[in-house]
Amino acid sequence: MKTLRLASGDRLFELAVERHQDACDLVIREEGEGPRVFHASAHTLGSRIFIRDSAGNGCLYAGIRDRGGVWVAWRGNTVYLELAKGGSRGIGDHTRASEVAAPINGRVVEVRVTAGQRVARGQVLGLLEAMKTEVRLEAPRAAVITEVAIAPGDLVDLGQIAFRLDPNSSEELDEE
């Protein structure tokens, strides 16, 4: 039985499905909790997945897996569960972030900090312009800037590292 490790925010799931005709047992191991089993009937057609739980409640989902994770949509909601690599924490855990990446393709308008500078959580480190709108790059935590990897006028891609932070500088500076 194949297991799938998915992360959403700070939750991490390990999933294994056992299929018996139309019924499924989903074994869920969630970080910090004991294993549990979800039993339901399920029908799939392409990317459409219909699930009816043991109480009789049904819901139609749409789902698709890509390289980085799984998209699931239902009743106007859409989530992306990221494929978790062994042992790594889920995305969205900023408390130990050691870098600030560009959240979008854009042009660097302004850089407001220099290497070695101490910054507070939420402080604006630089400005990007994307689709004619300014996007702020903010410090995810209090830290010391160890590297400024962008300069005004640079074109940056989504995910490109813009600033690096001292990995050990958080506790001493973060007073919250």
Binding site: L4, L6, S8, G9, R11, F13, L15, A16, V17, C24, L26, I28, R36, F38, A40, A42, T44, L45, G46, S47, R48, I49, I51, D53, C59, Y61, A62, G63, I64, R65, D66, R67, V70, W71, V72, A73, W74, R75, G76, N77, T78, V79, Y80, L81, P103, I104, N105, G106, V109, E129, A130, M131, K132, T133, E134, V135, L158
Partner: protein, 506 residues
């Protein structure tokens, strides 16, 4: 009517215009950048012409390339859509000089109404009051002085602006310097012009606009108002017609004001007069949009008219059948704009590839979309993916219908504002019609978008989800979903879902 037109745009509006042209039996030419070679608007046109690389300034904004494309494919008229060059008088001039008919207002009217200072003067001559303020500014110091005279809060605007670009709200004098620098920078980037002006911020106020059409024979016709108060950072999100704040008497006065301004400007073709309406029912002219607007479908649904068709007929010299104000709107229409953006991350624009796409199909629902399954959403262009528009006899019925349509919409592969739109429509404030220009920002402060609860059934759906057909290494024919992700075997999206060239690239 024209024999062949070129649509100088992309996305949903290009698709929208091409559909009407086809219906009228007009042949069509689409233009596209290199990354848009299989975009929906290209697949819909009779002819298509690549006009350059992805960046808009090298393709959709190149006047020479667009004129060449029109000439070499035999188009005799050009429709600019909205955005890009639609309010660029030089483009209109260039089309006319090249012997092409410009489907829009004359260059002189575009120039006059595009300059906010001149537009205010035209409104004044037509006897219509504008929002207090409006003088040009030379420096941050002058801005601070004028802001104090008008009384805070004020709104700093780009004279050449639109769509919320180059615009900043100023609540305290301490914000003046930052706002001045940022707004000018944005204005320079968006319009190549950083002339600024400042207006008093009316609060609380509603954004109400009047669609007009004017023919070449002196007839001007106004439609029922659209209310577009629900905005985030001056970008409209939800629009409706009629407005809950406008009664028949106010509607008629605003329609008369709109017609008077259009006549004073010598305006021809479709345009929109934007007003702010305060709580006493007084209205102030804000600006004119000299083009077809994003939210034009709500007007079409309550008036049973095709505005693009009217635009083509007017440009071809045809007369309007009506003159002056129009009768009451028929029923109620609400539009929601679906954007590729992530409300949970400060509404940052998102990008990716649409892996699964399903639109609602039910009575009273219209979808104007510029994407199909397989579309790549890049950060090169506007992040609006589609508009979902509902119509019903009464407002509450329309609202519920649109909520239901949003619940039936599926977009996988790119994060969108879909759930945010649904929640906004479900909120009591919207349900009771108390919509003001500050409503969305206030609502976001009180109820910031939160992560949806992932229950065990969602996890089961995730575990059963098939691999995407185009998800890189795994994308072989064998493990591609049998129905291309769509349960409807006759859906046109199926045929374009995994669109590829027949020959491998050299």
């Amino acid at each position: 009517m024209f024999d062949c037109i070129l649509v100088a745009n992309r996305g949903e509006i290009a698709v929208r215009i091409l559909r009407t042209a086809r219906e009228l039996g007009v042949r069509t030419v689409a233009v596209h950048s290199e990354i848009d070679a299989t975009a929906p608007h290209v697949l819909l046109a009779d002819r298509a012409c690549c006009i350059g690389p992805a960046g808009a300034s090298d393709s959709y904004l190149c006047i020479d390339k667009l004129i060449d494309a029109a000439r070499s494919h035999g188009a005799c008229a050009v429709h600019p859509g909205y955005g890009f060059l639609s309010e660029n008088a030089d483009f209109a001039d260039a089309c006319i000089d090249a012997g092409l008919t410009w489907i829009g207002p004359g260059p002189a009217a575009i120039r006059a109404m595009g300059d906010k200072t001149r537009a205010r003067a035209i409104a004044a001559r037509a006897g219509v009051a504008s929002v207090p303020g409006g003088a040009g500014l030379a420096s941050a110091a002058e801005l601070a002085r004028t802001a104090q005279e008008l009384g805070l809060p004020v709104l700093l605007k780009a004279a050449a602006g639109g769509g919320g670009k180059g615009m900043r709200r100023i609540d305290r004098l301490a914000e003046v310097d930052d706002a001045w620098a940022a707004a000018r920078r944005e204005a320079k980037a968006a319009f190549g012009d950083d002339t600024m002006l400042v207006e008093k911020l009316l609060y609380p106020a509603r954004h109400v606009e009047i669609q007009i059409v004017a023919d070449q024979h002196g007839r001007v016709c106004a439609f029922a108002e659209r209310e577009c108060s629900l905005q985030r950072r001056h970008q409209k999100i939800i629009e409706e017609s009629p407005s809950t704040a406008v009664d028949a008497e106010l509607r008629e006065r605003m329609q008369e004001a709109a017609c008077a301004i259009a006549r004073e400007a010598g305006y021809v073709n479709a345009g929109t007069l934007e007003f702010l309406v305060d709580q006493s029912g007084a209205y102030y002219f804000l600006e004119m949009n000299t083009r077809l607007q994003v939210e034009h479908p709500v007007t079409e649904l309550v008036s049973d008219l095709d505005l693009v068709r009217l635009q083509l007929e007017i440009a071809a010299g045809g007369p309007l059948s009506a003159n002056g104000t129009r009768s009451a709107p028929r029923g109620h229409a609400i539009e929601a704009r679906l954007y590729a953006e992530d409300p949970e991350r400060g509404f940052l624009p998102t990008s990716g590839r649409i892996a699964v796409l399903e639109w609602p199909r039910m009575p009273g629902i219209r979808v104007d979309a510029g994407i199909h399954e397989g579309s790549a959403i890049s950060s090169y262009y506007d992040p609006m993916l589609a508009k979902i528009i509902a119509w019903a006899p009464q407002r509450e019925h329309t609202r519920r219908r649109l909520v239901s349509a949003l619940e039936d919409t599926v977009v996988l592969g790119v994060k969108t504002n879909q759930a945010f739109l649904r929640d906004l429509l479900e909120d009591r404030t919207f349900a009771c019609g108390a919509t003001f220009t500050h409503t969305v920002e206030e609502w976001l402060r009180e109820e910031p978008p939160k992560h949806v609860v992932i229950d065990d059934a969602v996890l089961l759906a995730a575990a059963l989800a098939p691999p995407a057909a185009s998800a890189g290494a795994g994308g072989t024919a064998e493990n591609r979903p049998a129905l291309g992700g769509s349960p409807d075997p006759y859906s046109p999206w199926r045929t374009v879902g995994h669109w590829r060239g027949l020959e491998p690239p050299p």
